[in-house]
């Protein structure tokens, strides 16, 4: 019984561990080496999905810290990734409060709004307040591919949830 409990805890912590690992490690979702414009933002998909489906396993405090770590590793001003993650978090929370049951299509649409808003804040803060210049086209490609790949990860995470974690939070 205790062993089962421990396993459950590990499975529940899976998405959070993945989020931290992506923030801190060199393993990233930037596949430019294979295809010049192919980059996507997996942490945002993870945050959006799990706050929507099971907020009990992804605390906002952890999301904030993961954002700070990501800033340190990437060399961005501190707090900017946290801010964009929290904006996604807010959208996801709002959608969860407003809807009883969601489908992949409705999630995809609301994710598009969240992503657009988060990346706009990220880009405008960075371009207006820091010395770092980033290319608008890069952000555009990143947004497009993140949006494009969302359904795939939605299915993958749904499978993970139904097999290892259990139903949606009330």
């Amino acid at each position: 019984m205790a062993k089962l409990n421990l396993l459950n805890k590990i499975f529940n912590a899976g998405p959070l561990i993945l989020l931290y690992y992506l923030s801190i490690s060199e393993v990233d979702t930037n596949l430019e080496k294979m295809f010049e414009i192919f980059t996507f933002n997996l942490p945002i998909i993870i945050i959006y999905f799990w706050i929507l489906k099971k907020p009990s396993i992804m605390s906002t405090g952890h999301i904030f810290v993961a954002g700070l770590i990501n800033d340190v590793v990437m060399g961005f001003p501190l707090g900017i990734s946290s801010l964009s993650y929290l904006v996604v978090c807010f959208f996801s929370n709002y959608v969860r409060n407003k809807s009883v049951n969601t489908t992949i299509a409705s999630d995809w649409f609301t994710f598009f709004l969240a992503l657009l808003f988060a990346n706009t804040i990220f880009f405008s803060l960075l371009n207006n307040f820091s010395d770092i210049a980033i290319s608008l086209s890069k952000i555009g490609y990143n947004t497009f591919f993140t949006l494009f790949l969302f359904p795939i990860f939605w299915l993958f995470f749904s499978l993970y949830q139904s097999n290892f974690i259990g139903g949606q939070d009330a």
Binding site: S25, E36, P55, S59, F64, I69, G75, P77, S82, F90
Partner: protein, 292 residues
């Protein structure tokens, strides 16, 4: 109508302020905190700078450890193959050393000739060649993290202010320029690569020392900008750092031009692939600007 507005405001407020269960903090408080930290960092408050430097050192070390599985696995197969080819490689290396020795002799001759010519021109004070060659002014550093960000092209090295590394110092590999130090911590530093969008370097190229600016374009090859209007671009011309900015050592090789006439863009193929860096050298010299 008023019911739906109430619904909206309740859901909105709840999304921003809700706490309880796993959520120890409300999203609003964390958003305010993130904005506060961002502005403190951007406007360079000393407390944040010091804190960031400490956090950087710790996080870079952890990140290096966390990334080691992804580094070890691909290298393991390579290691096995190279182990079996060791003898062959040894013979090849002996041959390479022979070649280098002969090149070294040539280099010595050219250095002496160069020194004599400088004496003739009375321009010795422009740069002290011996200073560059002096190994005391060079620090070998290991690349800790080369997270291939879609937005920033930089690497983290394991040498910081403790080893004498300062902001602005040029970083090379095999004497080819790869970038400059943009952020220093006690035990680590961040190097901005030539391919980054924020990188601007004065360069000279061609037999008549044409001046230009090498600009990172966030792609594999940086571009040459501000070339003279009458300049006709050619392929395969070596690009050197001109040292006009007082940061880079004049004459440090960078890459060769590749000219795609269809695109009308003068790109430079770097001698060093920025995605394949494992050890680099930091030149601990900050050259002053030329005085006229």
């Amino acid at each position: 109508m008023s019911v739906s507005r109430d619904d909206f405001s309740i859901a909105f407020r709840s999304a921003l302020l809700q706490r309880g269960g796993a959520q120890k903090f409300s999203i609003l408080s964390l958003i305010i905190l993130a904005i506060f930290i961002f502005f403190l960092d951007v406007y360079g408050f000393t407390i944040i700078k010091t804190a960031r430097s400490v956090i950087n050192d710790v996080v870079f070390r952890i990140s290096y450890l966390a990334s080691s599985p992804s580094r070890i696995l691909p290298n393991a197969s390579k290691g096995l193959t190279s182990h079996f080819n060791l003898k062959k490689e040894n013979e090849k290396l002996k041959q390479v050393i022979k070649n280098y020795k002969s090149l070294n002799l040539n280099l010595e001759y050219l250095t002496n000739e160069n020194k004599n010519l400088r004496k003739v021109l009375d321009a010795e004070n422009i740069i002290n060649t011996e200073n560059i060659i002096n190994s005391k002014n060079i620090v070998l550093a290991k690349v800790l993290i080369d997270k291939n960000s879609p937005f920033l092209k930089s690497i983290i090295i394991n040498k910081g202010t403790k080893s004498g590394v300062k902001k602005g110092m040029p970083v090379t590999q095999d004497n080819f320029l790869i970038g400059r130090v943009v952020e220093t911590n006690h035990f680590s530093s961040r190097v901005l690569l030539l391919t980054d969008l924020n990188s601007r370097i004065p360069v000279s190229l061609g037999p008549d020392s044409t001046q230009a600016i090498l600009t990172g374009s966030a792609t594999t090859n940086p571009k040459l900008e501000y070339l003279p209007e009458e300049y006709t671009s050619e392929n395969d011309i070596t690009v050197f750092a001109s040292g006009k900015d007082g940061i880079f050592i004049p004459g440090t090789p960078i890459g060769k031009t590749i000219n795609d006439s269809g695109k009308k863009i003068n790109e430079v193929k770097l001698f060093v692939d920025p995605n394949q860096l494992s050890f680099v050298t930091v030149n601990l010299i900050l050259i002053n600007k030329e005085k006229f």
